[in-house]
Symmetry: C2
Subunit: 250 residues, 2 copies
């Protein structure tokens, strides 16, 4: 058996999310279908760094699976891409040690969120950025980004639907916001992320950018650990799983 | 009755082209459906500057229609956009003279064609540019672009399916090609375009860029007036109807 690690990208707009579901078009479903076909019908299961919701994109998601086949790396990549649709692409294939795990060995994840900040929507961006027509104070947002960095309990910024078990403590290594033309880019690098965490944080940052909250309120919101204190989760189309980093071991 | 002129944009990837067809999702079909709804079920027909094929995009298509309603321009725009899906957008509404015609009064059209010239495809560009992984000599293409400018019979560069009647003579005012990063942009401005003309020309320009033809062969190809001399029509996803210009009268 060899353990194969793949870095994949996908346009999430036509997927019902990453996780396999009966009768739904999912990333995991299509990958496992392709792998099972390559293994002459013998089911192959994959493990990913984590799930992404319906409509969320990936520039660098990582998965792994085991195979009895002795195939050169380039051929793995080519065979998989031949079997996959053109909104799901295997960028890179590597052999990993048999203890490597795409989920448990994650050292750092990077998410990005894009906002299209124009008066009028753009039909070509509708699936790829969140259309937000109101003016924003980027400096106030940047100040708040700094307050989010570090190790905190992010209960306030995670879905109430998230599983109750486990700590809600996470470390954000870097949070930033920049504007280029009409596009606003948020970058989040962290040890891990709770369910909907990026999309809830961006919602609060947009409130701050509109002057509905002060940047300093971030401290208080983190301390209160109450999801009900903050607004709605921003939509999935702006969100990209950008990169997943592992230790040097693999 | 007022004659209303609209500039619209659409992402062509989810449309079966512009022209209305039974049971198909078309730009004309959705526009007429929205207008008919606004007119309490009374059918409204639209006229466009021309059709676009399935998968072809528009940044600036022009249409017109007649209405008995006395509605301010801003309300026309808002009412239509409320009734249209988010891949079809009315950018601008104006009142036109009752002799204005979106097709017959065209003075100049601009099309652009985008090629994604990288070794590997990009899932996010699959519907918006033609993926072409081979290296290209842009200077040779630019030379050929110059030879296409002017008034010529474009029979060689138009679909054999095009209607037999009428002259195949058209004037190209400006043809250019530029590369920025991995993206190649072709710009065509002309008096009018034959069916599939831009997509056939781009196919020949890509042949020239690969060294399979010389730029000077353009003269000979134009003179021979034979569609069979040139290669395949490039795919629709790279093509954008960019702008339509009318005389000062309207």
């Amino acid at each position: 058996m060899v353990r194969v690690k793949c870095i994949i990208k996908y346009d999430g707009s036509q997927f019902s999310g990453f996780q396999i579901q009966p009768k739904k078009r999912t990333v995991q479903g299509l990958l496992e279908q392709a792998l099972t076909k390559m293994h002459k019908g013998k089911p192959v299961r994959i493990q990913a760094s984590g799930r992404t919701d319906s409509g969320v994109h990936a520039k660098g998601q990582t998965i792994h699976f085991d195979s009895p086949y002795d195939i050169p790396l380039y051929n793995w990549k080519q065979a998989l891409n031949t079997l996959l649709p053109n909104d799901l692409y295997v960028k890179q294939v590597a052999f990993a040690s048999d203890t490597f795990h795409a989920r448990y060995d994650v050292v750092e994840k990077e998410y990005r969120y894009y906002v299209w900040n124009e008066k009028e929507p753009d039909v070509f961006k509708r699936n790829y950025a969140y259309f937000f027509p109101y003016s924003l104070n980027i400096e106030a947002i940047q100040k708040a980004c700094g307050y989010l960095e570090g190790t905190h309990d992010f209960t306030t910024f995670s879905s109430a639907k998230a599983s109750a078990k486990g700590t809600k403590q996470r470390t954000l290594y870097a949070v930033s916001c920049g504007k280029q033309g009409s596009e606003i880019e948020f970058i989040f690098r962290g040890s891990g992320f709770l369910y909907n965490m990026v999309r809830i944080i961006v919602g609060v940052l947009l409130d701050i950018g509109q002057g509905r909250r002060q940047p300093s309120e971030i401290h208080d919101l983190l301390a209160k650990k109450d999801r009900r204190l903050v607004g709605e989760t921003v939509p999935p189309e702006g969100l990209y799983l950008w990169n997943v980093r592992y230790g040097e071991v693999d």
